[in-house]
Structure formats: structure tokens, C-alpha cells
């Protein structure tokens, strides 16, 4: 359908045009929001003004779909984060997806070994944009106390990491704090040069 290049005020709810600007509804449409209206009608005529990027960021930050990449001890603590007591659902991130194509937050929880590194890169590349990475625990962030022949010294050697959560393993509160830090980053639209300048290792 052809879009009007010069939109004029119209009847009905706020709409987003193809240029990405928000067109406010007319006074008649707003005046219809009386107490007698049905909830269904209200939802169609309710209006708010915002910036497009802000409302998208708001949606993104409150509906992070995590893919738990739990490889070791941190994976067990991640279960606690998801579990009944700490309940990551309170932060909108309860829809755990085990397919990278359906997730936008990669939770690297546990030691990444050299053998695992190519798998992790492939998983990361399969995720759709926008995507974020949270590195949970000392091992995922730096290799931890495994300064050893078969352990990758931090998953940021192969993928870009947005938030590092320290601890061995971190407490669930620390992981929640990490998720909240990521939410703030998303809300602010913070630039992510580590992500933009990331080059995939020349394999996988």
C-alpha cells in the first residue's frame, strides 16, 4: 500500500509511518477515551509520544530472550537464577531459548575450552541481530584460575562481550545485576565499539 509522503492528522490511534515518525491522533480520537469505553477500544485509541528508538529499546530491554550456554559450575548457578527463588522472569528474561536463532542474549556460563571455542563462535554467529553477550563468572571472562593448556583465556577472545559478571561462580544476585546493567546499556543506546569492530576468527 502506498504511504502518504506528507501525513495529515487522521482519525484513530497513533501510527508509525514509513519514515519512522509518530503521527499523533486527532483530538476527536482522543476525546473518545471516556470511562464508558470498552478496554478493547481504549487500547486502539490510547496515545503516547516517544522516540522510536526509545520505545524499541524499551521493548528490547524488557524482553531479552536468553540462550543459556552453561558449560560448567556457573551453569548450575544459572539454574538458580532461572529458578523459583531468584526468578529472572521478573526482569522479562524468562523465555529461555536453546536455539540461537530465537535468542538475543547469549549467557556464557562456565569455562570455555579450546575445544569448545569454535562451537561458541558458531552459536554466536547463528544469533540474529540485535544480540548481546553476558559473560558469567571468572572462567568465561578470563579463564579464571585455569591458566591451563586447554582453557580459552576468556570467551572475549572469540566473541564480543557486553557485560562481565565476576565471581566463581557469581551469586545469582550478581547475575541479575549484570542483566540490569545490560538493560541500562540498551535503554541508553550505548555505543558498543567492541561489537561493531568485532571480526570473527578466521574459522568456523
Amino acid at each position: 500500500m502506498a504511504q502518504d509522503s506528507n501525513p495529515s492528522p487522521h482519525q484513530g490511534p497513533a501510527v508509525i509511518t514509513s519514515q519512522g515518525t509518530l503521527v499523533p491522533p486527532t483530538a476527536e480520537a482522543l476525546s473518545g477515551m471516556s470511562g464508558t469505553q470498552h478496554v478493547d477500544d481504549m487500547s486502539r485509541s490510547f496515545a503516547l509520544t516517544t522516540r522510536l528508538d526509545a520505545i524499541i529499546a524499551w521493548g528490547q530491554k524488557n524482553a531479552l530472550w536468553p540462550m543459556p550456554y552453561g558449560t560448567a559450575c556457573c551453569g548450575i548457578e544459572l539454574m538458580s537464577v532461572m529458578g523459583p527463588k531468584y526468578d529472572l522472569a521478573r526482569f522479562g528474561a524468562e523465555v529461555v531459548r536453546f536455539s540461537p536463532r530465537q535468542a538475543d542474549l547469549l549467557l556464557v556460563a562456565g569455562t570455555i575450552t579450546e575445544k569448545m571455542a569454535p562451537v561458541l563462535v558458531r552459536i554466536y554467529r547463528q544469533m540474529l541481530e540485535p544480540k548481546f553477550v553476558l559473560s558469567m563468572g571468572a572462567c568465561a571472562s578470563t579463564g579464571g584460575f585455569y591458566r591451563a593448556y586447554h582453557v580459552l583465556q576468556g570467551c572475549d577472545k572469540v566473541i564480543p562481550v557486553d557485560v562481565y559478571v565476576p565471581g566463581c561462580p557469581p551469586t545469582p544476585e550478581a547475575v541479575l545485576d549484570g542483566v540490569m546493567a545490560l538493560q541500562r546499556m540498551i535503554a541508553k543506546g550505548q555505543p558498543r565499539p567492541w561489537r561493531d569492530n568485532w571480526k570473527a576468527p578466521d574459522y568456523v
Binding site: 559450575c73 548450575i76 538458580s80 579450546e114 575445544k115 569448545m116 593448556y149 586447554h150 582453557v151
Partner: protein, 560 residues
């Protein structure tokens, strides 16, 4: 007549015993043989049923010896609990006979010795790397390999299978559908990888690739002082971390020849049994999740959290507690802690009954697990099964009964044993074990011995903080122990405890220095998981998922 003399008399009829050295060191019976005699000696033990279990095979590197490596075999008689260690020196590039013809369970252990040391086993059809990645050059546990020399892996291995007689495992059969599950797959618990060929839904052949969590525990142990190894042991079976602490410390204490105080023993028993419960919680909970039942997981995790809270109160950490020290415990329990444990037991008892009815009486659960991939008792012994899986197959072997430690002998508890060895029986055994563990904890808590929580040997245990800061003697003792380190006598020892998954053994070689010379862990699920391709052969793929969940493979101890 001692056990060793009996063995000597026995062997004299079979092989020339002049070539065999008999020793009794630190409570262990040890035979040193020449490698040519290995098959004769071992088949004698196996056929006369003097030893029915091959518990472990590992290598040790002595670069200055004429024959550089020593292959070490640990044997167990499950009837009377007698153990024997057989050692055979092997030079670099020399072959030693594979024990695959006697025990199928030798398979992965020999591959590991090959991977770590380059020891060659004659007659092993799949002598390839197992823990390190396929591009890794060299053998990392040799003394001349630096602990931090990393080698990058740039690609994953394509689907492959084990070689069978006349069949090359790397060639796929075009009549079947090849399928790869994991390592990043929810049913593979993060780090396991299973490859299979399917005819319809039936598995024609399967194979496991492990090592995705090989984080070099044994090399790290060689480069750290004895007490600093304890945090590494936490991360072996991280579902029941305190049990690994206890197993390791018990081994070192045995080598040192010290007995820890009654109170420390009782505290260790409580920690171990709480760990057993939370380990079974993970096993049963995630086992349900793998079959599509999420309720049990959320239910059970509430109670796992309660145990975490107890641990936190005890020492500040939730999961990886590092609560034991060589010589006892790190600190005493806070006031009222034992009452908190008793309160938890009361709550947990109800929960176990609820979970039992939720899972074991559930029609769907029964249909998914009963009669699925059963393992016969004789096969389980062949593979080296221990713990709940062995007991589910009908063998009532439990080290807490067979070779009681820490006063388990005087406690009243039963060892649940299954009949069919199928997936259902494994959960049945685990859930009953939770009840028995609660019974043990209640008995110990009610009769908590007083006294000290650690020995006070200045060469083993650090003085208390108030002494370090408060008087010159404490300061000096602290300084000396930190600088000089804890130094056990020269020697070697194997010691095992009954962990949540089975026999957790530590083989420790000390050269008198402050670091272990060699520390080999005998992880229970390593022996169990190697049987997976045989166990699921001919079963539908969905049953294989149920089987891998019931084996409760913990990558931390599988790959170390």
C-alpha cells in the same frame, strides 16, 4: 595370611613371580610387574574372580627413569572390599597390552592415558585423543609440557564413530541418517556431544565425543600446593562440590597418616549427605526436564536453594564451598547450624515423598522410563559402573558399607538396590537414597561430638587468625607453613569415597615436595558414560535422551 601373600601364592602357579615385586605401602597392596606379564596376571585375577572390578587405569611420567612411564591399574573385589594396585613400567614408544579383552571398561581409560602421556596400548581399536582437541600436538601431562601452553582449535570434528572389526568408524553408512546432538544442546547438559546413525528413529550406532570441558585439573594439581588444590576439586562434580573436597582431603590425610577429630568427621558426613541430596535433586529435576516435565525441577530447586542457604551460613559460599582442609575443617559450624540442618531434614522428607509421587507414580514418566535401555548387573561390572547406576542394576555395592569411613559403619541406613537397571530404577534408587541420606544426617546431627574441628599439627594446619596476629609463635608457624608448604612423605596412595555418582577415587603420588607429583581422579561418570553407545544401540533416539539424563553425567568430573 595377608591378602598380599594369598595373591603371591595364587600367582605363583601362573607366572614366574621372581619378576613381580610385592609391596604394602600406606595401607595399599601394590604389585609391580613387567609389561609382558600384564595379560597373564590380569586375566588370572579376572577369571579366578579375585578382583571383579577394574576401577581405573592411568599413567604417571617419571622422565628420569629408564622406562619413562608407569601404567597404573586399580582393582577392586566388590565382595570383600580388597583392593590391589598393579603397576607396569613402559618406555616411550613401547607398547603395552590393552585390557579391552578382559574388561570393556578399559576403553576410555586407556584412551585417556594415550592422550595425556602417549602410552601405546596394543590391541585397542580406537587409540585416539579423547580429552584434548584433535589439533592438539603433544601429550599435556608429561612433565616436559608446560601447564599454560595453549593450542588453539579452529574447527570441530565431523561426525565419526568407533572402529569396529572390519568397519572404519570415520566412514558413514549412506543407508542411514547421520545426526549430531550437542555439545550445545539442552539435553546434552552443555558439554556432551552424541553422534548417531538412525534407521527411522532407531539408533544403529552411536558415539560420544567428550573433552569439551577438559580444564586440566590434573595438571593444575601438579602446579599448586596441596591446600590450593582444594578449590579445584570443588569444580570436579560441581553439583555436589563438598564431596570432592572430602575425597581429596581424605586421601592426603591418609598419606600423611593422620586421623581427623570426631567432630570434623561428623561434619564431613553431614556435608557429604547434604551434597548427595542436592546432587540427586539435579539429577532427578533435570532428568524430568529432559523428558518434558518442568514441574519437578522448580519444586526441587526450592529445596536445593535451602541447602545453599545452609552452606552459606556455614562458610559463606553457596555452590563451591571449599570447606574442608587437610587435617579437618576450615572452621567450626556457627551456633544453631545443626538445628537448622535438622529443620531442613524435616521439610525435605515431605518433599521427597511429594516428588516420589509426582515422578515415580506418573503414568507418562513410567512409560518413558520403565524398560528403557536396561543394563544387566554383569555388564555394569564390566563397564566399571559404581554408585546409584550399579545399584539400580542390582549390585549392592556401596563404599559406605563395604569399607566404612568417618563412622558410617555405626550409622543405621539402608542401601537401595534396583532390579532391572533401566532408567526408571535409577531414579527409584536416587529418590530412596535421598531418604536414606536424611536418615543419616538426622542421626549425626543428634549425636554431634564435641571437641576440635581440626587437628592442630603445626606442619599441616595453619594456626588460627587470632594466633597469627596475636603471638609470635602463631606468626612463625603460619609463615613456615606458607613458605615451606604442606609436605607429605614420599609415596603413593589410592583412596576412594562413595560420591553421589559412585566411586570417586584419588590416586596421589608424592615426591616429598609441596605440590602433588601426580594426582589422578577416578571420576565415576567417566566409566559410566563410556557405555552409552552400547547401551542405546537399537533404542529410539528419545530413549537415548532419557538414558543420558539418567546417567547424570557431570562434565566437570567427566572431562576434568
Amino acid at each position: 595370611m595377608s591378602n598380599l601373600e594369598l595373591i603371591k601364592k595364587d600367582l605363583a602357579q601362573k607366572v614366574s613371580i621372581e619378576r613381580i615385586k610385592f609391596e604394602h605401602n600406606f595401607g595399599n597392596d601394590v604389585l609391580t610387574i613387567v609389561k609382558e606379564d600384564l595379560l597373564a596376571v590380569m586375566s588370572h585375577f579376572k577369571l579366578t574372580e579375585r578382583f571383579d572390578f577394574l576401577i581405573d587405569i592411568c599413567g604417571v611420567d617419571y622422565p628420569n627413569r629408564e622406562k619413562r612411564f608407569e601404567v597404573v591399574y586399580q582393582l577392586l573385589n566388590s565382595k570383600n572390599g580388597q583392593r590391589l594396585r598393579v603397576k607396569a613400567p613402559v618406555g616411550e614408544g613401547e607398547w603395552i597390552d590393552s585390557l579391552l579383552s578382559l574388561w570393556v571398561g578399559a576403553d576410555w581409560f586407556e584412551r585417556e592415558a594415550y592422550d595425556m602421556f602417549g602410552i601405546l596400548f596394543r590391541g585397542h581399536p580406537n587409540l585416539r585423543k579423547i580429552l584434548t582437541h584433535h589439533q592438539f600436538v603433544g601429550h599435556p601431562l608429561r612433565k616436559d609440557y608446560e601447564a599454560d601452553r595453549q593450542q588453539h582449535c579452529t574447527e570441530t570434528l565431523p561426525i565419526h564413530f568407533d572402529n569396529q572389526p572390519g568397519v572404519d568408524g570415520s566412514i558413514l553408512n549412506p543407508n542411514y541418517v547421520p545426526i549430531n546432538v550437542g555439545p550445545s544442546h539442552p539435553a546434552m547438559h552443555g558439554t556432551l556431544r552424541v553422534m548417531a546413525e538412525l534407521d527411522g528413529e532407531t539408533i544403529v550406532r552411536a558415539s560420544c565425543e567428550i573433552g569439551y570441558l577438559h580444564r586440566c585439573f590434573e595438571k593444575m594439581a601438579e602446579t599448586h600446593p596441596y591446600n590450593q588444590v582444594i578449590p579445584y576439586t570443588d569444580r570436579l562434580n560441581y553439583c555436589s562440590a563438598p564431596m570432592n573436597n572430602v575425597g581429596y582431603c581424605k586421601t592426603v590425610e591418609k598419606l600423611l597418616g593422620v586421623e581427623i577429630p570426631q567432630r570434623a568427621q561428623a561434619m564431613r558426613v553431614i556435608l557429604c549427605e547434604l551434597s548427595r541430596i542436592i546432587d540427586h535433586i539435579i539429577s532427578v529435576g533435570t532428568g524430568g526436564v529432559d523428558l518434558g516435565a518442568l514441574t519437578a525441577f522448580f519444586h526441587l530447586f526450592t529445596y536445593r536453594e535451602k541447602v545453599y542457604t545452609l552452606f552459606e551460613k556455614l562458610c559463606g559460599a553457596r555452590l563451591t564451598v571449599s570447606m574442608t582442609r587437610v587435617g579437618g575443617m576450615a572452621q567450626d559450624a556457627p551456633d544453631g547450624w545443626f538445628n537448622d540442618v535438622l529443620d531442613f531434614c524435616k521439610e525435605m522428607r515431605k518433599e521427597v515423598d511429594e516428588i516420589s509421587s509426582l515422578m515415580l507414580d506418573n503414568k507418562i514418566f513410567i512409560k518413558r522410563t520403565q524398560g528403557v535401555c536396561p543394563v544387566k548387573a554383569s555388564d555394569a561390572i564390566q563397564w566399571g559402573y559404581t554408585g546409584p547406576l550399579l545399584r539400580a542394576s542390582g549390585v549392592g555395592l556401596d563404599l559406605r558399607k563395604l569399607d566404612p569411613y568417618y563412622g558410617y559403619g555405626s550409622l543405621d541406613f539402608d542401601v537401595p538396590v534396583g532390579t532391572n537397571g533401566d532408567v526408571y530404577d535409577r531414579y527409584l534408587v536416587r529418590i530412596e537414597e535421598m531418604r536414606q541420606s536424611l536418615k543419616i544426617i538426622e542421626q549425626v546431627c543428634k549425636n554431634m561430638p564435641g571437641g576440635d574441628y581440626t587437628i592442630r599439627d603445626r606442619g599441616i594446619v595453619l594456626p588460627e587468625k587470632k594466633d597469627v596476629y596475636g603471638n609470635i609463635e602463631g606468626l612463625m608457624n603460619h609463615f613456615m607453613l606458607i613458605i615451606k608448604g604442606l609436605r607429605p612423605p614420599v609415596g603413593e596412595i589410592y583412596d576412594a569415597t562413595e560420591a553421589a555418582n559412585g566411586e570417586l577415587g584419588f590416586y596421589l603420588v608424592s615426591d616429598g615436595s609441596a605440590n602433588p607429583y601426580r594426582l589422578k581422579v577416578r571420576p565415576p561418570c567417566f566409566a559410566i558414560y563410556q557405555s552409552f553407545p552400547s547401551v542405546v544401540k537399537g533404542a529410539p533416539l528419545a530413549d537415548a535422551i532419557a538414558t543420558v539424563a539418567s546417567m547424570n553425567v557431570i562434565a566437570g568430573e567427566l572431562d576434568r
